[in-house]
Symmetry: C2
Subunit: 318 residues, 2 copies
C-alpha cells in the first residue's frame, strides 16, 4: 500500500472552505496545525468545473513544493453542501445554480477520499477533532455569522438526516409571526441572531431611544459600543442572548446533549453574549436537564477554524 | 445453548406498560401478535420491589401454563424510564419517588435481556418493528395523550442523548410567554396539544362564544361535537393542528426525517386533526424540506400499542 511506503512523510489533509465571495484552501495536520493557506475568489468562477481545476492546481502545486508531506484526503465545507451525495444543492449565495457535484469534480484529479458537508457541520466535526468537544458523544454546535447554522452530533456521529439537510436550527421558528427571515418565513432564530438580525435589533432599539445610527453598524461595532457602556448596544446583546438561550433550551429537548458550543465571529463578543445566553438558557430549561449541560465558546483556533473544520471531515475517520 | 434446544417452541417477549394508575403486562411474538394481556394497579404498590415480585409471578405463571412458548426478554415502557441505567427517575405520576432500578429488580427473577425506556421511545421503536416505520432510518414519533411525548430515530437508532433524556419535544417552547404548562414553564407544546391542553382550548373558545361547558369535556367528547358541526369544537382541532404543525416543522430542522408519526388516543380524531396539522406544517416548513416528509398516523394496532412498543425494545435487536 502506498500509505505504508510513505511512513516517513507527514500526512496532510486539504481543507477547503467555500464562501459566497472567497474560497480558502489550507493544509492541516492531525494536530490541528494549518501549514499553509491561500484563497481565490469563488464569485470569479461562472463554471464550477473551472473552479475545481484551479483549486486542484493549487493543491498539486503545494505537494510538489512540500515533498516531505503527502495528501490523505480533501475535506470541503460549503453552503448547502450535502454530505450524502457530495453536491452543493441550490445555494442561494453562490453563482452556481442547481446541483453541483463538487466531490465528483475533485475525484477527477485526486485518488483520495473527498468529503463535503455544510459549513456548520464542518465546524461541529472540527470541534470533535480539534476543539472543545474531544471525546464528547452528544453536542450541538451553533454557528453565528451571516446566517445561523448548526451541527448536531448524536452518539459521536454527525446527524445528516434522511436527505443530508439535518441541523437547520437557524430556521426553527422561535417567535411565531415574528420578524421576517431571509428564508421568507417569520420568526426564525436566524432573523434575530445572525449578523443582520443583531444589527436589526440595535437599529430598533436606537429608534426607540430617538437616536440615529452613527457610521457602519456591524455586530463588532455594536460590541465595541457595548463595552463603552452604550445602553442600546448592551440591550442588543442582552436580547440576542435571551433569544439564543431560549433556542438552545429548546434544542436540548431533542438530543439531550452534554454541551452546546457557540462558534463564529459574533461569539467573539464573549461574556457580553454568553452571560445573557446562560441566564435565558437556565430560565427556559426543562427541570430534567438542569445543571447538566455546558454552554461554551468553540475551542477551534479562530483564524483557521473554517479550514480545520473542513479538514476534520477526513481526520475524524483517520 | 438453551435457545437452540428450544427451537420448536414459540419465542415470546413480555411487554410491560407502566402507567400511573395501571400496569399492563402482555406477551408478544415477532409478528406483533399479543397472545395474552393482563393488568394490575400500579398505584396499589407503595414498594416497587413488591410490584416487580407480583409482575414476575404473572410472567412465570403464563409460561408455566403455555409450555409451547418461552421467554426471550422483557421490554418495559414507563414514565421517565431511562434506557441507559434501566431506572425510573423522578416520575411525577408514580408513587415511587426518586430513582427506581426497575431493570435490576426484574433481573433478580429472569436471566433474559430486560430493557426499559420511556413510553414515547417505546412507541417509536414499536413503529419501527411493527408499525409504519418499518425500514425507515430517520423519523420522529409524537405521542399525544395525558402529556405530549416524542421518540426520535436517527440512522435507525433511538436517540437517547447524553443522559437518556432526549426527545422531550412536548416541552419545547412553541409560544414564549404562552400558556402555563404542567412542568411549570410557559408556552410548551404540551400545554396546547395534550388532552388537558385541548380541553383548555375548547373551554377558552366556549367562553369566547359566551357558552358554558355541557357534561364532562374530553378530547373524545370534543371530537364527537366537531363531527356534529359544533363551531368551537371544530376550531379546537384546527388550533391544535396548527400548533402541532408548527412544532413538527420545527422538529424537521433538527433531524430531517423521512416521516412523522402521530400516536395515541387523540390521534384517533383522524383527518379532523391531521388536515390542520398538514396545512400548518406545509405553511411553516423551510423550503429545503418541502414535499419530502410524510405525516402519518401510527401503524401499531391500537389496543395493544403500549405492549407492542414495550416488547419491541427486545424484538428490535433479535
Amino acid at each position: 500500500m502506498i500509505m505504508e511506503t510513505r511512513g516517513d512523510l507527514r500526512k496532510l489533509v486539504t481543507g477547503i472552505d467555500i464562501g459566497g465571495t472567497n474560497t480558502v484552501i489550507g493544509f492541516a495536520d492531525a494536530g490541528g496545525n494549518c501549514l499553509y493557506k491561500t484563497s481565490l475568489g469563488t464569485a470569479d468562477y461562472e463554471d464550477p468545473a473551472v473552479f475545481v481545476k484551479d483549486v486542484a492546481g493549487i493543491i498539486v502545486d503545494f505537494f510538489q513544493k512540500n515533498d516531505d508531506t503527502y495528501l490523505i484526503g480533501i475535506g470541503i465545507g460549503a453552503p448547502n453542501g450535502n454530505f450524502y451525495n457530495g453536491s452543493i444543492e441550490f445555494a442561494p449565495n453562490l453563482k452556481w445554480k442547481g446541483v453541483v457535484p463538487l466531490v465528483d469534480l475533485f475525484k477527477k484529479y485526486f485518488n483520495v477520499p473527498v468529503t463535503l458537508t455544510n459549513d456548520a457541520n464542518a465546524a461541529a466535526i472540527g470541534e470533535m477533532v480539534y476543539g472543545n468537544a474531544k471525546g464528547m458523544k452528544h453536542f450541538i454546535e451553533f454557528t453565528l455569522g451571516t446566517g445561523v447554522g448548526s451541527g448536531i452530533v448524536v452518539d459521536g456521529k454527525m446527524v445528516y438526516g434522511h436527505d443530508g439537510c439535518a441541523g437547520e436550527l437557524g430556521h426553527a421558528i422561535i417567535f411565531p409571526g415574528g420578524r421576517t427571515c431571509g428564508c421568507g418565513r417569520q420568526g426564525c432564530l436566524e432573523a434575530y441572531c445572525s449578523a443582520k438580525g443583531i444589527v436589526t435589533t440595535f437599529l430598533e432599539l436606537l429608534e426607540n431611544e430617538g437616536r440615529k445610527p452613527d457610521g457602519k453598524i456591524t455586530p463588532y461595532a455594536i460590541s465595541e459600543l457595548a463595552s463603552k457602556g452604550d445602553h442600546a448596544a448592551i440591550k442588543t446583546f442582552e436580547f440576542t442572548g435571551e433569544v439564543l438561550g431560549l433556542a438552545i433550551s429548546n434544542s436540548v429537548t431533542y438530543t439531550s446533549p452534554e454541551a452546546i458550543f457557540i462558534f463564529g465571529g459574533i461569539a467573539n463578543a464573549g461574556e457580553l453574549l454568553l452571560k445573557p445566553i446562560r441566564d435565558s438558557f437556565e430560565k427556559n430549561l426543562l427541570g430534567v436537564y438542569k445543571n447538566k449541560i455546558k454552554i461554551m465558546p468553540s475551542g477551534i483556533k479562530e483564524n483557521d477554524a473554517a479550514i480545520l473544520g473542513a479538514a476534520s471531515l477526513i481526520w475524524q475517520n483517520y
